[in-house]
């Protein structure tokens, strides 16, 4: 795995990207269709349908951070430029995902709880996650040499891994206003199958979109570096 250069990974992802975006658009259209025709929840009414954006983006914002942390560890231990570039391309996507989670969550919160924002453990730890993403991006852009930036940002990503179990288990460890997990929980999902299937379809739609977006950012970073290098050689 450590023999993969950024170039080969970029070429591989470019060759796949058209299928990925087609699959993503297909899954998202199917999920929109499913969401529209889904029966309302008995208690929350129509407002629960915001779940089909809120939950997939929440899962992804955690999964992207985990991926960023793992590739930072690989990058630091094996000095792998590919792993560093993977972490570098993931943080903007993670930031956007966590902003979507916070915004959709606060709309949903106002409709159901009666408050846009409260300082409970789940909401606060999710806000911290968004700030760590922002800090990662800012660190990457505050050094002249990208190797130094990668080193500093990787340390932040590894430290930030501590926050992941806190976000996930905050609803179990402390009392919160936020509900407990409905899907990834002991005893199986606490929703009916029609809701669960819609959620999974919309998750994979957004997941495929994330992969497409990731491959684009990765490609741009690689091409920019190539241009800078050829400029240096010409001067």
């Amino acid at each position: 795995m450590f023999a993969i250069t950024p170039n080969t990974l970029s070429n591989f992802m470019n060759s796949m990207s058209r299928y990925v975006i087609l699959l993503s658009l297909l899954l998202i259209s199917v999920s929109i269709f499913l969401i529209i025709f889904l029966e309302n929840d008995y208690y929350q009414g129509i407002s629960f349908k915001i779940m089909f954006i809120h939950v997939p983006t929440a899962w992804l914002s955690l999964a992207i951070f985990l991926m960023m942390g793992i590739s930072s560890i690989i990058g630091l231990i094996f000095k792998s430029p590919t792993a560093f570039t993977v972490a570098r391309s993931l943080s903007p996507i993670g930031l956007i995902m966590s902003i979507i989670v916070l915004v959709t969550g606060s709309i949903w919160g106002n409709l159901t709880w009666g408050a846009y924002w409260v300082w409970d453990a789940r909401l606060t730890s999710m806000l911290i996650l968004a700030f760590i993403y922002l800090g990662h991006i800012l660190l990457l852009h505050s050094f002249e040499h990208f190797q130094k930036a990668d080193f500093a940002a990787s340390i932040l990503a590894i430290i930030g891994l501590v926050n992941l179990p806190i976000v996930k288990f905050s609803v179990d460890w402390w009392t919160t206003l936020h509900q407990e997990s409905s899907v990834l929980r002991i005893g199986g999902p606490s929703m009916t199958n029609d809701y669960l299937i819609t959620l999974i379809v919309s998750f994979f739609g957004i997941f495929m979109l994330t992969i497409f977006w990731f491959s684009n950012i990765f490609y741009i970073i690689i091409e920019k570096r190539k241009m800078e290098r050829s400029k240096l050689l010409n001067d």
């Binding site: 159901t112 509900q179 409905s182």
Partner: protein
């Protein structure tokens, strides 16, 4: 020879990262463990029994709205917040309730105890993790498996 040297370096870097991570998680664990009462968003009526000096102290109490206790009298909402141990707190609230406040559903009230009655300033509805359409509930009721109200 070169491979052995590389392995040593990798080992060193791995241990370095492990120490950073372990120190950080230990400090976060200690902070959140010692602040666990502050991180908890609300207390249950049972917890109030073991707390002293709760009169005139700003608190959040959470639980379920007791069945047949939600009433509107003289411009005030009154209800009881009950928990699993059947301990309850009498609450009065003078503003508009959130839409989802119902009997036998979750609620969090924010305010103070005045003469053993909890005067709430903010009321939040706390929904649980169960999602199902009305038709599924009707089906469960037909089969006699529904345990809600």
């Amino acid at each position: 020879m070169r491979i052995i040297k590389l392995n040593n370096q990798i080992k060193k870097r791995f241990i370095f990262l492990l120490i950073i991570f372990a120190c950080f998680s230990a400090s976060i664990f200690l902070i959140s463990y010692s602040l666990k009462d502050q991180i908890a968003y609300f207390v249950e009526p049972t917890d109030l029994k073991s707390m002293d000096g709760i009169e005139n102290k700003y608190l959040r109490v959470g639980g379920l709205v007791k069945i047949n206790s939600l009433k509107f009298l003289d411009g005030n909402w009154t209800f009881e917040v009950i928990d699993q141990n059947q301990n309850s707190v009498n609450v009065v609230f003078s503003k508009t309730l959130p839409n989802l406040v119902e009997e036998n559903k979750g609620i969090i009230v924010e305010g103070k105890f005045i003469d053993n009655i909890f005067v709430a300033e903010i009321v939040l509805a706390k929904h649980d993790e169960n999602y199902m359409p009305q038709s599924a509930i009707d089906k469960l009721k037909e089969e006699g498996k529904w345990r809600g109200n």
